[in-house]
Amino acid sequence: MSPLWLDLVLTVIVILAICLLSAVRLGLIIRLFAFQSLVMAAIPLMLGGGFGVHNAVIAAGTILIKAILIPAILFWAIRHVSIRRDAPAVFGISTSLLLGGVLVGLSFLFSSALVPADKPFSDLLIPSAFATLFIGFLLLVSRKKAITQVVGYLVMENGIFLFALLLLETTPLLVELGIFLDIFVGVFIMGIVINHIQSEFDHMDTSQLTTLKG
């Protein structure tokens, strides 16, 4: 059986993703994402290697970039465009929560079909990676404001990070640092893009970008 603490941390990550589906205020959405990243930073320290330099750098990088820098940029962005609430989603909160439940079920179904070469540290690791990935994708496609879509993308990335933990011992540190840098630059650019959408159209509702402006 897999260690209890790792299981609990993975469960909390998925619970936070489900909470994100029900959140409407942008500040809360960003804080939930920051908290999810903070919890996720504990995982590399719990895996097989223990307190190696590699694991410690990954954990510290996750906290620094995902739990501090990126939320700070996102808070800066919503302060600049001065909005507090997300527009209503394409479908209501109840529907997106139910869809989230379906996606959690599907992620367990998919991961039972996958047979990892190495035995993973916890049998929950792959399902919760899938669930976080799918829920992030659901946020990305169902919300209308650019900020929530960015958070959806970041939650997806958290899911991918969970997957990558399977390969923690074989991936060189340089590759992981490169990924961190990519995400950071990506969010930085998206923050600037959001500001430009705002200054050009006086809102950041991306569903209206498809209509031409005369």
Partner: protein
Amino acid sequence: MVARLAVCLLLAPFLLGIIGKTKAFFAGRVGRPYLQVYYDVFKLLQKGSVYSRTTTWIFRAAPLVSLAAVLASALLIPFGGWAAPVSFWGDALLFAAFFGLARFFMMLAALDTGSSFEGMGASREAAFSCVSEIVLFLNFATLVILSKSFSLSQMIGERSWPSWTAMGPSLILVVLSTFIVLLVENSRIPVDDPATHLELTMIHEVMALDHSGPDLAFIIYAGAVKLFVLGAFLVAILVPYQSHHRSIDAVVFLSGMGLLAVAIGVVESGMARLRLDRVFAFIIGSFVLALFGLIVALARVL
């Protein structure tokens, strides 16, 4: 057996006192005394009842039926080292059915008054409880899978540390969603505000509006016992410790219940009541958590 009944019947209203004091602490007030609910019940028992001419026997029977159903459900649940007096294969269904019966009669009584206001409360109660009941049953299903038994006495209570270490994620999800069910079933704050009589906020309170005297006392007391029973269910899952010393178990259980009441008070102080359509999202969120718990249990066991 006698001690068990005495604990359940006498201490149930005390939980409401603890919740009230916790809320008062956060609001910076002194708050009403711990025993206020006992005073209220005694005061109401000494008064007479007023019945509207439109009401029938259903209106008079409902408080008694709901109190009887809730007391009967208390017999099915083991707590604090005392075994459940009645226990058989499938008693979890009966447990949920007693709550359903109590609710059904309260809703009929509300409709029986002929007041549209009470009808509104009954319709809200029906709408929310039909989702929260599903959540309760999903949690039962998870516990059945984990304990391989369909009797409440085996599903909770005798649970010990091994099942927490192996099934921690499932149990955490069961506890979270059961806590939300507890808030919904007892009409606590994110769902309903027990302290006000405003039309917008009322679900449970509005159904008790036309009851008076002993009937109202029965309703208040049944609400307290219901909170105690569901709380005992939650505490039995959350605190698997059993020393098999009567007094130690009782102390552990009672402090667990006290902490639960404080937790409810903290939630009530920290949250505003949700808008009605948000209440649905809240309950559906607990449904998703319960579903997640069931899936984890299935994935682990099968």
